[in-house]
Amino acid sequence: MTRFGFVMANLFRRKTRGTLTLLSVVSAFLLFGLLQAVHVLFNAGVDFVGATRVVTQARVSFTSALPLRLLSEITAIPGVSEVMHETWFGGVWQTNTPLTTFATVPEQLHAVYPEWVMPEAEWRAFAATRTGMIVGRQVADQFGWKVGQKIPLASNIYPRKDGSKAWAFDLVGIFDGKDENWQRQTTQEFINYAYFDEENQFGRGNVNIYVEKLKQGADPAAVAHAIDARFENSTDETKTQTEREFNVGFVKQIGDIGLIVRWILSAVFFTLLLVVGNTMAQSVRERIPELAVLKTLGFTDASVLGFVIAEAAAFCILGGLIGLALATGVGALVERKLGGFLPLAVDAGVWATGFAAMVAMSLAVGLLPALRAKRLNIVDALAGR
């Protein structure tokens, strides 16, 4: 029998106990995988967003408007290559599904966000169709929207000139992200600002934010500072941040999700540590005479220590793998069911953190019983003292 076989055989010597221990490890890692994915989700738009863009909002808050006339002034600031603007439309699908809809200028969007991938013909159609709308792949998949459809949307902010809040747009394109991270962000819709601005009842010529694409090599902090300095002490003071800071700031307003996730995870792992640790201690206690026999046969103290740690590690790793695999499946299922609104991706990053957790757990639960096994005195153990 190989050493590996020996460890595996011991694992399920007590079938019920082995299985139950394994199952509790599995459920802990299932939760671990899902919570990590949530954590990543809320920090999304953070890690992969480069420092190539800065975002300008009104200094008081991004909910208040900036006039459209800043556009030319911002474009003239050194270091800025392209500028676009966005206005939150407050889109609502059917009665109660809020959407992430922005009014923007198609050509500007295309120039500032090369990360959105769509056939040129569709970009041209978007620019040429006043009532045009383009939507991210995830949105289109979720609602089953096809290019060419007329999409009725309500706005919970902007009434039309006739007072009604029922808008309708022609779906002229569906965009993808340039890579997996960006694909996950394809949960937005864009509409034509020119049409929006003319048709809505108030707020003519106002936008929520400007997004500036920087020239190659321009220092984001310096450009941001230059923009804010340009409008200082005017009626429209601005606050410019890198896109990354802007996104982080936005998520932070919801609350410290990271903190909550960490709290739950530490509670879960503390509990798990105890459960698995206890099982290991119990199984070593029961096998004291056996371990003594092993030592008598010539196995060194170190190899007995190794056996016990390997057993703990086997529980943690086997359970961890199954748990993470389940989490991956559940995540994919949720993603398919809820579409873009909860893109739970248990990805490579989550798996890597998971592996680190498995190793740490193995040592934490295995070390004490293993040391006990190592220090075992053969004579006492065989005599049952």
Partner: protein, 394 residues
Amino acid sequence: MWKQCLAITRLNLYSIPRRWSSAIVIVVGLAGVVAVFCALLAMTEGVRTTLRATGQPGNVIVLRAGSSAELNSGLSREAVTLIREAPGLARDAAGHPLASGEIIVVTELLKRGETSGGANVSLRGVDPRAGFALRPQLRIIAGRRFTPGLRELIVGSGLKREFQGAALGQTLRTRGSVWTIVGVFESGDAHDSELWADIDVAQSTFGRTGFSSVLAATDTAPGSLHVFEDHLTSDPRLNVDVQSESDYFDSQTRTFRATIGVVAGVVTFIMGLGAVFAALNTMYAAVAARVREIATLRAIGFAGGAVLVSVMAESLALALVGGVIGVLIAYLLFNGLTVSTLSDNFTQLVFSFRMTPRLVARGLLIALAVGMIGGFLPALRAARLPITTALRAS
């Protein structure tokens, strides 16, 4: 039978201290589950009570039709005049209708400990007379009310606690204007997360001619709410929604509450599953360690049912202890903890975690359920032990 059950159960419970190292698995496992469950739900409970407390009975809020929040709403000066003169409203001693035309302006403040970023907070312009009369729950706890006509602010206690630069005497610069904070108020509801100013000053400073909403008190006479509502909705010059103040505030963080509810459900379910496995493990071990003892009891005439009950009782007792510890942990760590989140108005709502008796009961119920499931199979095994072989077990 009863006596038998009691006797063995007592025997079991008294022997727990001798087996504490495995018993503790159930206790700690459930403490973890219950603590997480209670902490998450204490958060939604806190938000809910904060918002629900905001509505005074009889108060109604008028928004532009279809607006879900004050921020999205807008009413012209003429509309507000029409609303104030509508029948069905209560009047103050001087005969003025109890109605306050208000605006919400969003401004940014830094949370405590932040040096960059900033979070949205609401600056509410209120009618200096009706605004306070309509909210009798509001008390000035430091300083004084703002003076009508001056750029003065009073700040909600929650905001003052959670954000920088909002203390008494400080000046606040926003949209090119400078305001002095002259008072701190406490109302125990959503207004604690707001800055208040005189409506006229706010309108002229921020260049707004209209209003966001009208808060009004309806007359105590029965049916006056309907009179008021019918009057407004039948007036062709108006396009407004009327709802009770409490309904409005209750709807403000529905999404947030629903999300936390789902998270709490999923997390508790998976953790609970893990705890069931751990409990099963512990109870199987507990039964295995006492095979001979149980067989002896059976041999001298104790019934299988009594053994079953005793094992279940042990599991439930341990689970209950775990649940109580979990509730205590959640209570000590989280009850009263003040945090803030984004409301539908897109501004920060400061609230405190709140452990309610109902929440405690639900937490303990979960603990007992896990204890019950985790104890049943091992109890069944104990009750069905073949006496003769079990007696010879080593």
